[in-house]
């Protein structure tokens, strides 16, 4: 990748978006759709790099897109875990209060779909306050998931933002690899 800014800069930009969807309660619903939030982070990392470096084929190569996606996922895992920890420490009780208010309010309860009520009941059952073990588990699960889905997002971004004349999809034949 050519340009003044490092690949890590764009990965961090994508990572902030991924991290927000991993760690924040409301934005976290985005990840309920095949990790769309994490994929969005990988996509935006490629988008920002492409925007800064121009449309030339050499500006953001497929290798850069792959690396940007993976790195944005890794950055998102770290940022998301920190945010998750902060939310659990600061606003954990607020979320529990909010959900218990919804569950207690008869009119509100009747207006919600039964699946959502079951999900809210499960949420309440799982609440045990801040726990370092939960946070570590959260970190390792996302350490596996976020780079994977970030990679997919980065490659979707590369495929969507490139001109079709640039690097058409073709599987590398083994003969191209030097021995």
């Amino acid at each position: 990748m050519q340009g003044n800014r490092s690949i890590f800069y764009y990965a961090l930009l994508g990572g902030v978006i991924s991290g927000a969807t991993i760690g924040l309660p409301v934005l976290g619903f985005l990840n309920c759709a095949c990790c769309a939030g994490v994929m969005l982070g990988g996509f935006l990392a490629v988008f920002f790099a492409k925007k800064d470096l121009g449309e030339e084929p050499s500006s953001v190569s497929r290798t850069d897109a792959l690396q940007l996606g993976v790195l944005s996922g890794l950055a998102g895992t770290v940022i998301g875990t920190i945010l998750h920890g902060i939310v659990m420490l600061v606003a954990g009780d607020v979320m529990v209060d909010l959900v218990s208010t919804i569950l207690r309010d008869g009119d509100l309860r009747n207006s919600l779909p039964p699946e959502l009520l079951i999900a809210l009941d499960e949420f309440m059952a799982e609440q045990g306050g801040f726990s370092l073990i939960d946070l570590t588990g959260h970190f390792f699960i996302w350490l596996f998931l976020a780079p994977l889905f970030g990679l997919v997002g980065g490659l979707i971004g590369y495929s969507l933002l490139r001109k079709d004349s640039q690097e058409p999809p073709s599987l590398s034949s083994p003969s191209e690899i030097p021995t």
Binding site: R62, I141, I156, Y158, L160, L171, P178
Partner: protein, 134 residues
């Protein structure tokens, strides 16, 4: 067995809402992911397998951008229509639009990923020097 199953379902809970009414079920047990996610994953696997056939890939050569738009459009329209309340899509629609995306995403993304990894490997492997003549 049941413990492993519960852990797997809990793991997939990070990447899918797992709402029962939106999931396919087998013998009264709902799948660990919703019908749309299931469509995406299964069709992505099929798309990945298609990339192994060079004659099939020739049809898609040079269509990366168009292919991604074709792949994404039905699913995004289905989701958007549901959010704004235009209509409530059923499991069949979700499964089909997810599978449509997964299939073309696999066909489009996997070759790029393989080429990118090959580029990285080629960068790491030192090129063999030809012996000097004479």
């Amino acid at each position: 067995m049941e413990v492993t199953g519960n852990r797997l379902v809990s793991f997939y809970g990070h990447i899918c809402h797992q709402i029962e009414s939106r999931s396919l079920a087998m013998a009264a047990f709902p799948a660990a992911v919703c019908s749309r996610c299931m469509g995406v994953y299964v069709a992505f696997l099929v798309g990945t397998m298609i990339t192994g056939f060079p004659f099939a890939m020739r049809w898609f050569a040079g269509t990366g951008r168009l292919l991604m738009i074709i792949a994404l459009a039905p699913m995004l329209l289905d989701v958007a229509a549901g959010i704004i309340g235009l209509y409530e899509s059923g499991n069949a629609t979700r499964l089909l639009t997810g599978a449509w995306f997964g299939l073309f995403a696999g066909i489009c993304i996997v070759p790029v990923a393989v080429d990118a990894l090959a580029d990285i490997v080629m960068r790491q492997v030192p090129t063999r020097r030809e012996p000097l003549a004479g």
